[in-house]
């Protein structure tokens, strides 16, 4: 199972993995911390390459849990980086995960406020102070805009999509095409559009948002670097990207719109996901550029069980996702596929012989893990699965039993990472602790 990689991809992969292990830009607090960091990378490296690590790495996905654990609100995650830092530090100290819960996932409310971001509600802006951010389902692309998406992607994004999702960028909708700038005579007439009061206001807002975003980036990188260098936890995920179908169905057409398009304009969907393949590859590779971590986080949504038939998954979802996976692997990257919901009906398809062995990581939520092991054995590292509901409403004893059972049934061959099925916002701290301890205890024996 699994195809071979080309030599250039192997070399790029080896270099990226070594940089991950070396962390060349990091000044570790001590040799002991450096050793702890490298030991953890080693556990993950073994798992990725389907070997059996000394113990199973324990790598939970944390959303707002660290803030709630410290008595802070979800709003603090979006607006108060002192509290974010306190929460992040305390979480890592108290629970000692094998991976860093990166602060980049805690996005800046201030930037969204300035730009009047309309695609999401977030705490302090549409949702309660203690609730998570939530996506606002809408058709941010109309069903008659497929042609423009495919023929003029940049124009669509700049003049149609951005003005719809950012209130402050509405003037972009009336921006003349930059291709008008052909000769000297067209420069001033073109630029006059930027002198209009609405456009001037937009440019001011953009500058303001840009400064706020740069401050945020400095702050969150400082938080993460500080934890990495003093506690020795590597990040499991540097870059990020999405499946082309999810870019279309999450972001552009919405769940409902994309499901109706499936029957009304199936060929438009196929053309759109094809067009989005290089977009997704470039996003994943670009966001990995300055990060010394080869893993590219890819949350998968609309291809889960129940969201489409097996035949549709094979036709509409998988071919473009596979192209992105292989495009990233060719650049030495390791796609980390975070399959939300259940993937039981997809296991046969995703164990695709066109994808190189040991170059992907699959993280599952409610998927049957024994079936996942059977399909992915000898092909791809996998993990996840401790249920969010159990962590929220179960007891530490129940969590311990669950983790032990999971490890005993699927981790024995290696190539396994213990994790949460979902990104955890709300859970009983004693349950998270029980998961971490059970992972460390039973993860050695299997």
């Amino acid at each position: 199972m699994g195809s071979d990689t080309v030599p250039q991809a192997d070399e790029a992969y080896r270099q990226r993995m070594e940089r991950w292990a070396e962390a060349p830009g990091v000044e570790f607090a001590s040799a002991r911390v450096r050793a702890a960091y490298q030991e953890r990378v080693g556990l993950l490296w073994d798992a990725i390459e389907l070997r059996k690590p000394k113990r199973v790495p324990v790598a939970p996905w944390m959303g707002l849990f660290p803030l709630r654990y410290c008595g802070f609100t979800a709003r603090d995650a979006f607006y108060d980086r002192e509290k974010l830092e306190k929460a992040s530090r305390r979480f890592h100290e108290d629970f000692a995960p094998d991976t860093l819960q990166g602060s980049m996932a805690m996005v800046p409310g201030e930037v969204f406020d300035i730009l009047d971001y309309r695609m999401f509600d977030w705490p302090g802006h549409g949702t309660a102070d203690d609730a998570s951010y939530q996506y606002r389902e809408a058709e941010y692309m109309r069903d008659d805009e497929y042609g423009m998406l495919v023929d003029d992607l940049g124009g669509f994004w700049l003049q149609r999509f951005l003005p719809r999702v950012f209130g402050a960028l509405e003037p972009l909708g009336s921006l003349p095409a930059p291709t008008d700038l052909v000769e000297m005579y067209s420069v001033a007439p073109y630029l006059a559009a930027f002198g209009e009061p609405a456009m001037q206001q937009m440019l001011k807002k953009l500058a303001e948002a840009g400064r706020a975003a740069a401050r945020w980036l400095d702050d969150v990188l400082a938080i993460d670097t500080s934890i990495l260098s003093t506690m020795g936890m590597p990040e499991l995920g540097g870059g990020v990207t999405k499946a082309p179908y999810d870019i279309l169905a999450d972001t552009l057409r919405g769940t409902r719109g994309s499901m109706l398009d499936r029957f009304r304009r199936p060929n438009d969907i196929l053309a759109a996901v094809e067009r989005l393949i290089p977009v997704a590859i470039d996003w994943g590779a670009g966001s990995s550029e300055d990060v010394d971590c080869p893993l590219v986080f890819m949350p998968l949504h609309k291809g889960a069980d129940g969201f489409m038939s097996d035949a549709d998954f094979r036709e509409f979802y998988w071919p473009s996702l596979k192209a992105v996976i292989n495009g990233l692997i060719e650049q030495g990257l390791v796609p980390l596929l975070f399959a939300e919901g259940s993937y039981n009906d997809r296991l046969e398809v995703i164990a695709d012989p066109d994808i190189p062995t040991g170059r992907t990581v699959w993280m599952f939520d409610t998927t049957d893990m024994v079936a996942a092991r059977d399909h992915l054995r000898g092909f791809a590292c996998f993990g996840g699965n401790v249920p969010g509901s159990l962590l929220k409403v179960g007891t530490p004893e129940e969590v311990d039993t669950y983790v032990r059972g999971l490890l005993e049934s699927v981790a024995g061959d290696g190539g396994f990472i213990l994790s949460t099925g979902i990104v955890v916002d709300d859970a009983r701290p004693e349950n998270i602790m029980a998961m971490m301890e059970a992972g460390r205890r039973y993860g050695r024996a299997v």
Binding site: T127, Q134, R256, L260, R262, F263, M308, G388, L391
Partner: protein, 223 residues
């Protein structure tokens, strides 16, 4: 009955069968066209609606068998909406069947997910229940107020976030404090909801999908 009338009813029967096939086959334009032809042929709107409901029943069954999925349910809901639009001028207000029970539905406080909730509402309405949809981010007190406002059989709570569990619990507790339990049954649903969550929030039962909601309602109301 005359021979001509017999012939007409054969024709009508064939069109009604074609209508069912068109809906089940997700052929939207054809389904709407067939509905129009049936109206033009003088078939009563209630009967056309009845055929459409039969198609939805077939789809519900196929969904339970794992043969069709959420897109087919959403698309068929859309086709039904189109047919209902065609029939509207021909439907007499008083001819609607008696409702099978009153159900208050909503996504709980702090959560704005609506796709699953809407699908549950559509399926229950098609099954003949009176559905009062309170929308998303619904405060627990609103479920209580609505359940008090008219005799209510079932309150159905939806949520996609783990944060929704406490809001569901608050709604169930609110119904109990208002003395509405156990007369009013409570069902919960949403991706992270399972038996453990159902027990935690104090609901009577839970469902993994929209047909499960219909099944529970049928079971509870003994129909």
């Amino acid at each position: 009955m005359t021979k001509a009338a017999d012939h007409a009813s054969d024709h009508e029967l064939r069109l009604r069968t074609e209508l069912i096939h068109a809906i089940v086959g997700m052929r939207e334009d054809e389904a709407i066209l067939l509905a129009q032809r049936l109206i033009e042929g003088g078939v009563c709107a209630a009967e056309i609606l009845d055929s459409s409901r039969r198609a939805m029943k077939v789809l519900g069954q196929r969904f339970e068998n794992g043969e069709v999925f959420i897109p087919e349910l959403i698309m068929s809901g859309e086709i039904m909406r189109g047919i209902a639009h065609e029939l509207e001028p021909h439907l007499e207000a008083a001819t609607g069947p008696t409702k099978r029970g009153r159900l208050v539905l909503g996504t709980v406080a702090g959560d704005i997910h609506d796709i699953g909730k809407d699908l549950v509402g559509t399926m229950l309405s098609l099954a003949g229940y009176e559905v009062v949809d309170l929308g998303v981010d619904v405060a627990s007190s609103r479920f209580v107020d609505e359940a008090k406002a008219a005799p209510t059989d079932i309150v159905a709570l939806s949520g996609l976030l783990t944060l929704a569990f406490d809001a569901m619990k608050a709604a169930v507790d609110g119904l109990a404090e208002a003395g509405l339990r156990p007369r009013v049954k409570v069902m919960v649903g949403g991706a992270p909801v399972d038996a453990l969550v159902c027990r935690y929030v104090g609901a009577d039962d839970w469902g993994a999908d929209a047909p499960a909601a219909v099944r529970l309602a049928d079971e509870w109301l003994g129909r």
